[in-house]
């Protein structure tokens, strides 16, 4: 096994035990970046020189007997290019930001740096996170297929071993969708758990920041560093310091796993449904009790999501949409322009529907400790494919399909963890999401970790 293949947990442990130096690890990941980047395009910028300098400093700290200063000491990471790093451009995947320079670190970048993580580069995003494919980046398992989005660069970098972990953002599935499509783990935390200060917004009331990793344990390690109150994010919640790293126990006796009887298995590809139901069966074999649950207000999910996101996104771009509209990509520009025409009444209806949906989901999550469902209804589609046709003749846009099963967790703010659970007949990864109560991350991580520990180890993508 090469250092770039190590999980965050294994790499951090090896560095702590002085079996691996940060220089070896960073060099290995940068070599991997050099090898895979020409075919995958995961990164906007690679900060090789700074990463090597940081690695030498981290190694020096260890050699000098200075205790490793954080849980991620020497571990290389990629940050989605919506996340501010002092002195670097936050391009947001857009020509609109061509001259941008971040004056200060975002909260999450500062916390990761303080924990010892080393930035390898900024990863591609669908322009301003307003899309589900990330056209700049190729799927890690098939270059002719979409990476998913909007955190496509982050998911592909992690899947290919070009980052030991990465951060994404998620407004309608943008962490979980590319994670599922590239066979890695993605966690959308509870709304307000991870501060968004210094992270470019798509839609304030739906935006989340979270980790993309190769294992559930890694997601827990990174979340432990990220979580915690920051008054500069108005949605940030006061929470106690928590170590999210799950224990080794794989016994799920007593845990109630909700299996949706509606919505989450409607218009889902047969391979996806089979793999997710098989994984749910595996949770049952670990002791969990399966309970059938009814997902509330499904007719209003897309309407509520759009009624919130469309006007919020347009409001964020108000100034530049008037001064430099030609710099936006066509798909994003037209959405932002059309967002100007949504009446306030529609936006308020969406906010009131969110109130009702949150109340109904609170009742739903009294019936089950976690809900298990597909993350996305289909695997990665060919890059030139714009729609999916379901057996009943329904035609659905690819982006609409990829958002469909993710949006409820953004509207209600509940946490959702996407875990790889197999492949379709083309060898493309399939993801299962575990949804829980607000601040139920420890339960999701425990269940995901138990699943992972009792399944074969997944390799990085061979590119």
């Amino acid at each position: 096994m090469q250092p770039y293949e190590l999980s965050v947990a294994a790499a951090a442990d090896a560095i702590r035990a002085r079996k691996l130096s940060p220089v070896e690890l960073v060099d290995s990941v940068l070599d991997r970046v050099e090898k895979v980047e020409p075919s995958l395009g995961a990164y906007v910028t690679v900060t090789a020189e700074e990463a090597r300098r940081s690695a030498r400093e981290a190694e020096h700290d260890i050699a000098a007997g200075v205790r490793p200063h954080g849980s991620l000491h020497g571990v290389p990471m990629g940050l989605k290019d919506l996340i501010d790093v002092a002195g670097a451009a936050t391009t947001a995947g857009s020509r609109v930001r061509a001259a941008h320079r971040a004056e200060a670190d975002s909260t999450v970048a500062a916390r990761l740096t303080a924990a010892g993580a080393i930035l390898v580069g900024k990863t591609h995003t669908h322009e301003f996170a307003y899309g589900l494919t990330t056209p700049q980046t190729k799927n890690a398992w098939d270059r002719d297929r979409v990476a998913g989005g909007s955190s496509g660069g982050s998911a592909v970098a992690v899947a290919a071993g070009a980052a030991t972990f990465a951060l994404g953002t998620d407004t309608g599935g943008s962490i979980r969708v590319p994670s599922a499509l590239n066979g890695v783990v993605g966690l959308k935390p509870t709304y307000g758990l991870v501060p968004r200060h210094g992270v470019t917004s798509l839609s304030w009331s739906l935006d989340h920041v979270g980790p993309i990793t190769r294992t559930v344990e890694d997601a827990a390690l990174v979340l432990t560093v990220l979580a915690g109150h920051d008054p500069r994010d108005p949605a940030s919640l006061a929470t106690s310091v928590t170590d999210y790293r799950p224990g080794g126990d794989t016994d799920l006796t007593g845990l109630r796993v909700g299996v949706p009887r509606n919505y989450y298995f409607d218009h889902v590809a047969p391979d996806v449904e089979t793999a997710v139901r098989h994984a749910i069966g595996h949770l049952e074999s670990l002791g969990a009790r399966l309970v059938e649950v009814e997902i509330p207000m499904t007719r209003y999910i897309q309407a509520t999501h759009w009624g919130l996101m469309v006007p919020e996104a347009t409001a964020y771009h108000e100034r530049t949409l008037r001064t430099v509209p030609e710099l936006y990509q066509a798909d994003v520009r037209v959405l932002l322009e059309a967002g100007e025409l949504m009446p306030a009444g529609d936006h308020l209806r969406a906010q009131r529907a969110r109130t009702l949906m949150r109340q109904d989901w609170a009742r739903l999550l009294e019936e089950a400790d976690v809900i298990a469902a597909p993350t996305v209804p289909a695997t990665a589609v060919p890059s030139d494919q714009s729609t999916l046709t379901w057996p009943d003749g329904t035609v659905e846009g690819v982006s609409d399909a990829y958002v469909r099963l993710s949006a409820p967790a953004n509207i209600t703010g509940v946490p959702s963890l996407s875990v790889p659970v197999g492949h379709d007949t083309n060898g493309l990864p399939i993801g299962m999401q575990l949804l829980g109560r607000p601040f139920g991350e420890p339960v999701l991580l425990r269940v995901g970790h138990a699943y992972e520990r009792t399944r074969p180890v997944r390799p990085v993508a061979t590119v």
Binding site: T190, Y191, G192, S205, P234, A235, L237, R299, Y300, Q302, A303, T304, W306, G307, V310, L321, R322, V334, L335, E337, A338, G339, E340, L341, M342, D346, L348, R349, A350, Q351, R352, A353, R354, T355, L356, R358, Q359, A362, L365, E366, D369, T412, G413, V414, G436, R437, P438, F439, G440, P442, V443
Partner: protein, 69 residues
């Protein structure tokens, strides 16, 4: 807005009222997208909200007796 949706000239007028003058070559594309968005969100008009307040800003744990599990 009629059930038939906004026409490109109506889009031009609405956008102007919103403070976003649109060049003529944008009217057709924006009308199509705006009408599609409208068709999606209009379904919310079926709901009887009663006294339900909007969740413009909210604390996610409200309504959960045992949020931490």
């Amino acid at each position: 807005m009629s059930a038939a949706g906004l026409t490109p000239p109506e889009v031009a007028r609405w956008a102007d009222r919103a403070g976003l003058p649109l060049p003529a070559d944008r009217h057709v594309a924006v009308a199509a997208t705006a009408n599609h968005i409208h068709s999606v969100v209009a379904v919310l008009r079926e709901l009887d909200f009663g006294d339900t307040p909007p969740a413009a800003a909210y604390r996610v744990g409200e309504g959960y007796d045992d949020a931490a599990v």
